[in-house]
C-alpha cells in the first residue's frame, strides 16, 4: 500500500530534529506540523514575517493581521517574534533555517527542483520558493511519485523551468524515500519503501537512475 498524503507528511515529520527552525510549504508540507514527534521541539517560520507559528485560531478568534505564508489565519506562541519581509528572507538566505519541506512538480537526480510554473499554462509566480531552496540548510521534497497522467515526477533532468539547481536533499513520495547526494553533483539512492511497495514497482515508475540502499537490496 502506497502512503497517503497524511502518511507522507508523517514520514517527513520524522526528519524533524529537536531545536530545528523549519519552514513548511503549502499543501502536504503544511500537514507535517500535525505529526511533529513527541519530545521534538521545532520552531516554524512563516516567510511573511513570523517565527513561532501557533495552531489555527479557535472559531471567532481569527485575526486578519495574523496569517501564514499560505494566507491562512493562525495564532502565535509565547516564544514568537515578528519581523519585516527583508528580515525574514535574510533569515532564509543567510542559512539560519535548518530545514524546509516543499511540494514539487518535478525533481531530478541531480537535485534540481521545478515547482513554480508551467509555461503557457500557469502564471502565478515563485513566491518564496526560490529563496527557500537556495538558502535553507536541508531541502526535503514531498510529492506524489507520478503526475496525474501517470508519468514519473522523479526525472533524470527536469523539463520545467527550475526553482533551484542542485538543491534537493531528500524526496518523499507516496511510494518511497530517496536521498539525493547534492554535495557531489547529485545521484539518487532509494532508502525506504512504503509498506508493500516493491523495488520493481519503484523501478518501473521512476524515470531516473537510482542506487538502492544495502538493506533494501537484501530485502528484495
Amino acid at each position: 500500500m502506497a502512503w497517503t498524503r497524511e502518511q507522507v507528511a508523517a514520514r517527513a515529520a520524522q526528519e524533524l530534529q529537536d531545536g530545528f527552525y523549519v519552514n513548511l510549504g503549502i499543501g502536504i508540507p503544511t500537514l507535517v506540523a500535525n505529526y511533529i514527534p513527541e519530545g521534538v521541539d521545532v520552531t516554524l517560520q512563516s516567510e511573511n514575517g513570523l517565527l513561532g507559528i501557533g495552531p489555527f485560531p479557535y472559531e471567532g478568534e481569527a485575526d486578519p493581521d495574523l496569517i501564514n505564508a499560505g494566507k491562512q489565519t493562525i495564532t502565535i506562541l509565547p516564544s514568537s517574534s515578528f519581523f519585516s519581509s527583508a528580515d525574514s528572507f535574510a533569515m532564509i538566505r543567510g542559512g539560519h533555517i535548518d530545514l524546509t519541506i516543499l511540494g514539487a512538480m518535478e525533481v531530478a537526480a541531480n537535485g534540481d527542483i521545478a515547482n513554480w510554473t508551467i509555461p503557457g499554462k500557469m502564471v502565478k509566480g515563485m513566491g518564496g520558493a526560490m529563496d527557500l531552496v537556495a538558502g535553507v540548510k536541508k531541502v526535503i521534497v514531498v510529492m506524489d511519485h507520478a503526475n496525474k497522467a501517470g508519468e514519473s515526477k522523479v526525472l533524470e533532468r527536469c523539463s520545467l523551468p527550475l526553482t533551484g539547481a542542485g538543491v534537493v536533499d531528500l524526496i518523499i513520495t507516496d511510494l518511497c524515500v530517496m536521498a539525493c547526494d547534492k554535495a557531489n553533483g547529485g545521484g539518487l539512492t532509494l532508502i525506504e519503501l512504503a509498506p508493500s511497495v516493491t523495488l520493481d514497482e519503484v523501478k518501473t515508475k521512476t524515470a531516473a537512475p537510482f542506487a538502492v540502499a544495502k538493506e533494501l537490496d537484501k530485502a528484495a
Binding site: I67, S85, G128, P161, A165
Partner: protein, 236 residues
C-alpha cells in the same frame, strides 16, 4: 509636530501622482494593504503605472482595483496567483509582469532604501531569474547580481503613527511595509491610530519617522481575510 498629518487620502496624495510613475504598495496578500490609499490612486485616474508589490490584490480587493481600471502597465511581484483579472490582462499582453523571488524582491527594496545599487544572492542561480544577469563565484558558490528598487511613491499601512511619523506595525501586517517605507522618494503611511509624540516606546519603533512624509488615519480598514482557517474548541 503635526505637519506630516493629512486630512484624508485625497489630501495625502495631492501633487504626488503622475502618469508613468512607479508606486510601491505594502502588504502580503491583503494583509497590511494600504486600503484607503489604493482607492484614491484609482480615483485620481493616474495611468501607465509600474507597481511594486508582493501580490496584485485579490478579486475585488487591494491592487485588483487598479487592474480593473487598467491603470497598471507593469507589475513587479513575487506571486500573482488567485487573481483571474491579472491572468487575463497578462495573457492578453496588456500587462507587463516581472516576477521576482520574494526574498530578492524584499532585498531589492531594502537595498533601494539603503542606497545600495546592487547585491549578490544565491537565490535564482541556474534558473530563468538569473538569465541576462551577471553571475559571480564567491568562496566556491555561484551568486547572481540583483539591482535595487526605488519608487516615486511608497504607500504603506501601519498600526500606529505618532505625529513625528514614527510607525509601529501590527503582527504579520508588517511584511513589506517597513522596507517599502524606506525606498519611496515620498512615503505616505495610513494608520489605524495617530498618537501624540511620546506615546510610542522609542525602543519599539519599527519605522523611524525620517522615512515617513505624510500620514493619514485609515478611512477604510476592512482587513479582509483571504483564507479563514479555524479549529473547534475542544469540549472538556
Amino acid at each position: 509636530m503635526t505637519r506630516k498629518i493629512y486630512d484624508g487620502p485625497e489630501a495625502a496624495l495631492e501633487g504626488l501622482l503622475f502618469d508613468g510613475m512607479t508606486i510601491m504598495s505594502g502588504g502580503f496578500g491583503l494583509s497590511g494593504n494600504p486600503e484607503s490609499l489604493i482607492p484614491e490612486v484609482r480615483r485620481s485616474g493616474v495611468k501607465n503605472l509600474t507597481v511594486i508589490s508582493n501580490n496584485a490584490g485579490a478579486d475585488g480587493f487591494g491592487l485588483w482595483m487598479l487592474l480593473e481600471t487598467r491603470q497598471i502597465r507593469k507589475m513587479i511581484a513575487s506571486y500573482v496567483g488567485e487573481n483571474k483579472l491579472f491572468e487575463q490582462q497578462y495573457l492578453s499582453g496588456e500587462l507587463e509582469l516581472e516576477l521576482n523571488p520574494q526574498g530578492t524582491l524584499a532585498e531589492r527594496i531594502r537595498a533601494g532604501g539603503a542606497g545600495i545599487p546592487a547585491f549578490y544572492t544565491r537565490t535564482g542561480v541556474g534558473t530563468v531569474v538569473a538569465e541576462g544577469k551577471p553571475v559571480e563565484e564567491f568562496e566556491g558558490q555561484l551568486y547572481v547580481r540583483e539591482s535595487w528598487l526605488r519608487a516615486d511613491l511608497a504607500i504603506v499601512k501601519a498600526w500606529k503613527a505618532d505625529t513625528a511619523g514614527n510607525l509601529v506595525y501590527r503582527r504579520t501586517a508588517r511584511n513589506f511595509n517597513p522596507n517599502m517605507a524606506t525606498a519611496g522618494k515620498i512615503t505616505v503611511a495610513e494608520v489605524e491610530e495617530i498618537v501624540p509624540v511620546g506615546s510610542l516606546d522609542p525602543e519599539a519603533i519599527h519605522t523611524p519617522g525620517i522615512y515617513v512624509d505624510r500620514i493619514i488615519k485609515s478611512t477604510i480598514n476592512e482587513k479582509k481575510i483571504e483564507k479563514l482557517t479555524e479549529r473547534k474548541r475542544e469540549t472538556a
